[in-house]
Symmetry: D2
Subunit: 155 residues, 4 copies
């Protein structure tokens, strides 16, 4: 029943010295925050929540990853603009630019996960399976409970 | 290292057909929210958080209990006033009035737990031991993680 | 068309060395904030707004007056409870207890103004006439504009 | 003592069928909201406040104008990006792009007004003079009072 999380396809990384792969994170819990820098719900809620999770679970086996899944206004949300956004919003967790698709506006990873829009929160367990896939605003208490439960699983 | 949670001493219950004891809740996780109805930090944050936890984990093995630990302004926060407060704020989780002490302003349960003030959040695991004791505003994400981890423990 | 604001009927004052009358405030603008200490919309929004107005216009010709218009749960919101509420919420503007009526639950001043509930904001111009009567949450920007306009009128 | 507000120098307008000049608005009150689309304090507070003022005073003699004063991250905040920002945030008041200067990063109008950063709120009276120049977050109640007072002045 559990689905193995598809690998990320990222064209450029920020806030990490080297590329990140989900395969390389096996054994850890992963919170994948898919967003667009001009998506109001992301900026007001989802992205700050990802940043807080990154800080709160700093000493736990959790990795927070941002994924810039641009599926509209492509010319308005280039990596140059994203870089300024990351700087201005003081985001410190690793953020990857979802690789553009050759045949449509929806980027590669976003399509692999069949995301419906942004923000989307994906939680991946230590065994690499998807345990939560939520579109829209995630309640802090509910998200915390999901992360707490998965972190409690034996590695 | 883990301390068994002391039993509650309650003089009057609201929102429950019969008295609640921690002993009777063994096997379940308990969130004990100690508050005063005229404590601004409780009204603005702690009490609504307890209500949200009550609703969010309705189908999980979690019991949320409010404890009205009046240690100041006793004449201002009588059970009559508390009853109106519960009604006006639409609180639906069980709430007990911490039994007044015979020899001082601090009520019995509050003293047993050595609480420092209100709001205080106490989280009790399925085995009856205290796993978290926090004074002041609790972050939703952090509290959710504690509850999620304890709920993940085998009953 | 403008109605002269009826006089207040107050049984007890807090935060003022002597009773206040609207007649004595002629020449000043008055913001009358009617509330109940157990009304959630008052506690979360209206009462803090009145306190902010009191502080913001400290050097202007504005007097902010709170009026505790208890029309329900009378036993729960006595002056003793109100006094603790004022202390805990650090309210510093003058607050009067609306005089109980002899023949019903609605207090005297509340009835004179035909208020529909709490919170209610009444704004009175320098000439003593009512210029605004709002029930429910008042937008800060809109309320500020009303006060600014009336303060700009020549005394 | 009152300073006449310098004219705007705008390279491109959004949300208006034709260019706007302050001179053409003489007789009206003007709220000039200078912002950058990647300035967190603008996005969270200043720009929504300008939008609310635009809606609240729709039938009053107030014109709200946004001014995109890019003085940093120029490549990240081009008109193409701004256009998407305006669309995504549902901004409906007129917004001009402050004309780039030939000899430095600070655009022309921003320099004329000697603004210190973003957000900046400038309020101009019916006679064209500057009555308020604020840098940073503006309190709604205080801004409302300024606008209300100026609108009360005889045209």
């Amino acid at each position: 029943m559990a689905t193995l999380a598809p690998e990320l396809s990222v064209s450029r990384w920020f806030n990490t010295p080297k590329p990140i792969s989900l395969e390389g994170l096996r054994g850890r819990v992963v919170l994948l925050h898919a967003f667009q820098m001009l998506c109001p719900g992301c900026v007001a809620h989802g992205t700050p929540q990802a940043q807080r999770a990154h800080e709160l679970f700093r000493n736990a086996d959790l990795t927070v990853i941002g994924l810039h899944t641009v599926f509209e206004h492509h010319a308005a949300m280039t990596p140059v603009s994203l870089e300024a956004f990351i700087h201005e919003y003081r985001l410190t967790f690793p953020i990857g630019v979802d690789a553009p698709a050759e045949d449509g506006p929806i980027p590669v990873t976003m399509r692999r996960y069949q995301m419906r829009g942004t923000p989307t929160a994906i939680v991946i367990a230590r065994d690499g399976t998807i345990r939560h896939h939520g579109f829209g605003q995630e309640d802090d208490l509910a998200l915390g409970a999901i992360l707490g439960a998965l972190l409690a699983e034996t590695p």
